[in-house]
């Protein structure tokens, strides 16, 4: 089954050319010229990946992403102008899974989409991973905390699986970027940091003083029961 993409971009020409390029990569592509239209389209027919430009007239990309996140865990890639602004962190905090910078190369964008669509589970993983009062079921893609369902995005879930499958072991940002996002050595460490932060708010009793997902300064992250 071909994956369905939604491109949210106000520049008609960029939209059209990106659509051409991604259709060449074998995706079904839907377009939206504004955040409002994008939300409507998504409700009518959910996509597998959404591409949101941060600079939109009317509702901006951050807001669009936040609204989307209220109802869906769909992977979101945001398109930003610069990598070293707060836009990246703000976009990730709004719920985006990954980002690309303009002008992007279509092939690289396609690679990012593929990485997000990839299934996280490997065959030899146990069917249930537990730590503290948290239960992760990689087969079913569910997380429960003290018996209650916790809603995670696909990226958060994969990140949690990686950590839970290696309890007590320090995983560096590079390792996590490679395994969860499919990045090489030069991926952006902020992707990991922001997603870890979001995970903590969902599964830690006190996110400011984490007990399970710990930061190992200068090294990376590790999970303890």
């Amino acid at each position: 089954m071909t994956a369905r993409l939604l491109i949210v971009e106000d520049d008609e020409r960029i939209r059209a050319s990106t659509r051409l390029a991604l259709e060449d990569e074998g995706y079904d592509v839907d377009e939206a010229g504004s955040g409002e239209v994008a939300l409507e389209r998504f409700t009518e027919q959910p996509s597998d990946v959404v591409l949101i430009d941060l600079m939109l007239p009317g509702m901006d990309g951050f807001e669009c992403c936040r609204q989307l996140r209220r109802t869906s865990a769909v992977p979101v890639i945001m398109v930003t102008a610069r990598t070293d602004t707060h836009d990246v962190v703000a976009g990730l905090e709004a719920g985006a899974d990954d980002y690309v910078t303009k002008p992007f190369v279509a092939k690289e964008l396609a690679a990012r989409i593929r990485a997000l669509l990839r299934r996280a589970r490997s065959v030899d993983e146990p069917s249930v991973l537990t730590f503290g009062d948290v239960e992760v079921r990689p087969d079913e893609g569910t997380v429960q905390r003290a018996g209650d369902e916790v809603h995670c995005t696909r990226t958060e879930f994969r990140l949690l699986c990686e950590l839970a499958a290696n309890p007590g072991k320090v995983l560096s940002r590079e390792q996590l970027l490679d395994r969860v996002w499919g990045y090489d050595y030069f991926g952006d460490g902020r992707l990991v940091d922001v997603h870890i932060r979001r995970l903590r708010t969902k599964i830690e009793p006190d996110p400011a003083n984490p007990r399970h997902i710990l930061t190992v300064r200068g090294m990376g992250y590790k999970l303890t029961a």
Binding site: D11, R13, I14, A16, S17, T18, L20, A21, D24, A81, R82, T83, D84, T85, K102, P103, F104, V105, A106, K107, R173, D184, Y185, F186, D188, G189, R190, R217, G218, M219
Partner: protein, 487 residues
């Protein structure tokens, strides 16, 4: 040239400014403002004190002289009348008479009677008395005169005493008076000198005080010229200075605004180029993926377009990067990474092929906080530079350096000329050997960005000669947190 004046500079102003225009100036104007104020104050004090001293001297002199003359005349009249009454008695011995006269210290009496001259002293006789006065008195007119005898000032008073057919002369020495006046003159001259010196000192102090704010202005201007554009002057409640400070600050604001506007312009231009560039690259990507369906000529055109598009895209990215540094909005995204591994990965990603990466054993495993993306660009740009101009990278060396680590990229040469070693880090600088190798050209910004990235980390980069006409591009990074030195 007195003070400041305006000049509009044209090309070559620097040269003229260096030569200076002191050659044709008179010595006075070559003195600094402070020296001139000092001299003026000194001269003023001198003129004033000299006038006062002169007036004091002449008034005192007149007064003392008048007093003395009055006393002398009174005494001479008394003595003359004494002589007259004594000479009336014919038995009177003239010498005894002269001795009995009450004279002031230093005064001598001379008496003439019927052509005969008598004196109390052998040294002072008829000849001591000036001829004109002598004849005047002998002709019956009383007279007095100042004259110099044997080098000392004297005053002579001559009184005819016709009733006894005589003339009485008395010679007074004015030596003591002259000495008194000399001492007075010396004291006054000394006072004038002291006053002059005091004037000069006050002038120097006052001008120093007046010029101190100017020193602050000059310091601020230097700081701004040194690149810290946000330095401003603060004037305490002084109304004279606050005007100066305000206009100086306005100038600095205007300067900053212009510089920022220019940097912003570059940034805006590059930014605006992003959208069309995105359309172009993605569309071209589509064309490229259908390359095999195209006729040969179109295929060739697509290849050309692709190559140039890649270069264009890099140029825009690098311009943006540089304008971010220029506008001061460049931020370091620090990550703690293993330096050796970082260089190895970056060299691999940059396509340095099988050039070995030698990490010194003493720093293997050393972790530094750096901006991975920027260091990757540094390595990539150095690799590109080596590929374009020096036959590729021969090897990489990572070794310890004082206070940090050093990464060296060694190429195959030829070595960069000594005169070009600094200039190749300038923007768009094309060296003599530029473009000799390979057909693809760089963007002209690669090495200047290397310098900027390294500078943001608080490190430095330079190129030196290696053995056998090769270049060693050396990047030194401090091990302290670079966030503190980034501007």
């Amino acid at each position: 040239m007195r003070g400041l004046r305006l000049r509009v500079v044209s090309d070559g102003w620097r040269r003229r400014a260096e030569q200076g225009d002191a050659g044709g100036r008179r010595p006075w104007s070559r003195l600094g403002l402070r020296a001139r104020v000092t001299v003026t104050f000194g001269m003023g004090a001198l003129a004033l004190s000299a006038t006062m001293a002169g007036l004091t001297y002449f008034t005192a002199r007149q007064f003392i002289l008048h007093e003395r003359e009055t006393a002398i005349l009174r005494q001479a009249y008394v003595n003359a009348s004494l002589a007259r009454s004594s000479l009336r008695s014919p038995t009177q011995n003239i010498f005894q008479l002269l001795d009995s006269l009450d004279t002031l210290p230093g005064s001598l009496s001379v008496l003439e009677q019927r052509g005969q001259w008598y004196a109390t002293s052998i040294s002072v006789g008829k000849n001591a008395i000036p001829v004109r006065l002598r004849s005047l008195v002998l002709s019956g007119v009383p007279a007095s005169q100042h004259f110099v005898l044997n080098g000392s000032p004297e005053m002579v008073v001559g009184l005819p005493v016709p009733s006894v057919d005589s003339a009485y002369f008395e010679v007074f020495s004015l030596d003591e008076l002259a000495r008194t006046l000399r001492i007075l003159a010396l004291a006054l001259a000394g006072a004038a000198l002291v006053t002059t010196a005091a004037g000069a000192v006050i002038g120097r102090w006052a001008s120093g005080r007046a010029l101190r704010p100017l020193e602050e202005v000059s310091k601020a201007a230097e700081t701004i010229a040194g690149g810290r554009l946000r330095v401003r002057l603060v004037a305490a409640d002084d109304p004279d200075l606050s005007a100066l400070a305000a206009s100086f600050n306005r100038m600095a604001d205007a300067l900053l605004e212009r510089i920022e506007r220019e940097a912003r312009f570059t940034s805006d231009v590059s930014h605006e180029l992003r959208s069309p560039l995105t359309t172009l690259t993605t569309s071209l990507g589509v064309l490229e993926s259908h390359r095999d369906d195209l006729p040969v000529r179109s295929r060739r055109a697509v290849d050309l377009l692709t190559g140039e598009m890649r270069r264009f895209q890099r140029m825009v990215e690098e311009l943006l990067e540089i304008s971010r540094v220029d506008t001061g909005s460049a931020e370091l995204l620090l990550d703690e990474v293993e330096v050796g591994e970082l260089v190895r990965q970056a060299a691999h990603a940059a396509g340095a092929g099988d050039a070995p990466v030698d990490v010194d054993a003493s720093i293997s495993g050393l972790r530094l906080r750096v901006d991975k993306r920027r260091i990757e660009r540094v390595v990539a740009n150095l690799v590109e530079n080596a590929t374009l101009y020096a036959g590729g990278v021969a090897r990489f060396v990572v070794e310890p350096a004082p206070g940090g680590v050093r990464m060296v990229v060694v190429d195959h040469g030829p070595a960069v000329a000594l005169t070009e070693r600094d200039r190749i880090f300038e923007r768009f600088y094309r060296g003599q050997t530029s473009g000799r190798r390979g057909t693809t050209e760089g963007t002209g910004l690669g090495l200047s960005l290397v310098a900027e990235h390294v500078r943001l980390h608080g490190g430095r980069v330079w190129v030196e000669n290696g053995a056998g006409d090769v270049n060693r591009f050396v990047v030194e990074l401090p091990s302290s947190d670079p966030g503190q030195v980034a501007s």
